[in-house]
Amino acid sequence: MTEVLLDARGISLGYPREHGWQSVLENFDLQLAPGEVITILGPSGVGKSSLLRVLAGLQQARAGSVSLLGEPLQGPHPRLAVAFQDPSLLPWLSLESNVAFGLDFARQPKLAASERRARIDHAIEAVGLQHAREQYPAQLSGGMAQRTALARCLARQPQVLLLDEPFGALDEVTRADMQQLLLQLIARHNTAAILITHDIDEALLLSDRVLLLGNHPARTLGQWLIDLPQPREQRVEELGALRIDILKTLRRASRTPEPDSQPMPLPSETAHVPGRLHPHSS
């Protein structure tokens, strides 16, 4: 078995409601290996962002454990960077200062001034915002703000990237650019990433593994290993078959009325998918 960077086991989470407790997600498992890109796919409101906060050490799970680099995750970790669903930029800082935000915090790895400068410049360049570095968040478009938030993560060169719909506000062309950029950076620094999206195509294009969440409370409906080299734009047929399979799984789940008593659907539901798309068991 390969080394595991981020290891989540038996995660359950929910929120207090007026009358008791609303369970959002149950018994979730995930193992992230170095250099791996995992996409978590699921309909709106299924609990993806909540799950990401748990994986980032920002929110307590009701049950289960998360460990990073072999140690239990107690809280936010400097080797781990999160891009939230909302850019969360600080309005009183320029784009450049927003990208630099946090780099010099006491608990972050120490950086020499030149290294810091270089990282900020590279990150801003990578997301194509050199022309706007002096601008303030109020002057940025939604897509620019999102790319700024991404740059803020990249500048930290984390070991694990957690991205919550990082390309949601981007047009098709920029989105494709950013996807390629992300893949390059991940390959260059051997970063591992968990990417949340509700866009199946994005999941298929970017990830080594797709996890589908669904139902209430949510469970992992299926996992798919995508063993295709990048770039994948040409592999329409293989990806198309997989796409249909994911959609089918999702539709089947939404038809089952009460999920609670049901056993988790086995990943082997996808065993018949042809080509190099293997069902994955972890």
Partner: protein, 251 residues
């Protein structure tokens, strides 16, 4: 831009209208060459120009502005940390709000005799009264700012493993600064109003003192000139505070 020009022109027209009303008021209600003539715009402007030509008035202006500044600084020094605390803890807020509202509604001037008795005459009681007057808007606005902090900013700083100190300095304080500046602007308005009567007691410099001085010298057109000057200076102070606020919020 065109809109700004129109609004600016309208504002100037309003000020000219005020001047006209002043002139009319003196002419209609006063006797032609009685006492009231000395309150007319012409006489006042003449005196003002004369006053501004001499050095003395600048000293009084300087003394008054210094008092405002010291009162404001004291209020900031106490009000901002207290506001941060009150805004951060719901129980503290519940415990202090009625007391603050109570104190806030007592005109600072009503403390004047007490303060003079305790501190004697001089600058100290003035600083105290000014700081006391300016404290409430700053404190209450700071506390409101803390309560309205965007939780996403706090989540961001947490995700970056920020220490408490870093969160305070890099997120909370800049995050409430807009509110603090709103408080400062309100405070300056109050300070300017409270200053003049404060200076009418036991000091020998400042705009309030100078008003009484002109009265005692029966220099009524000078008195009116001072009234006008106080208005102009207050207007400028407010514009300054507004400008600061706008600069920060637009950033």
């Amino acid at each position: 831009m065109g809109r700004h020009a129109i609004h600016g022109a309208l504002g100037v027209a309003g000020l000219l209208g005020l001047l006209l009303l002043w002139w009319l008021g003196v002419h209609v209600f006063g006797e032609a060459d009685g006492l009231s003539a000395r309150f007319s715009p012409q006489a006042t402007l003449g005196s003002l120009i004369e006053l501004l030509g001499q050095g003395e008035v600048y000293e009084h202006i300087w003394v008054s502005l210094k008092r405002i500044l010291i009162g404001l600084l004291l209020a900031l020094l106490i009000g901002v940390p207290l506001g941060l605390l009150v805004g951060s803890y719901r129980h503290l807020e519940a415990a202090t709000t009625p007391a603050f509202q109570f104190l806030r509604m007592i005109s600072p001037l009503s403390w004047m005799p007490v303060v003079v008795m305790l501190m004697g005459v001089g600058d100290q009681p003035i600083y105290f009264l000014l700081a006391f007057a300016a404290l409430w808007p700053i404190l209450l606005n700071t506390a409101a700012g803390v309560r309205q902090l965007d939780p996403r900013w706090l989540q961001l700083s947490r995700s970056l493993s920020a220490t408490r100190w870093e969160t305070l300095c890099k997120v909370i304080i800049p995050g409430v600064l807009g509110h603090v500046l709103t408080g400062v602007r309100l405070a300056i308005g109050i300070l300017w109003i409270v200053l003049v009567p404060c200076e009418m007691l036991g000091v020998s410099a400042g705009l309030g003192y100078f008003i009484l001085d002109t009265r005692d010298r029966l220099a009524y057109s000078e008195l009116m000139a001072m009234v006008l000057l106080i208005g102009v200076l207050g207007f400028m102070l407010d514009a300054l505070a507004r400008g600061l606020h706008r600069r920060w919020v637009h950033a």
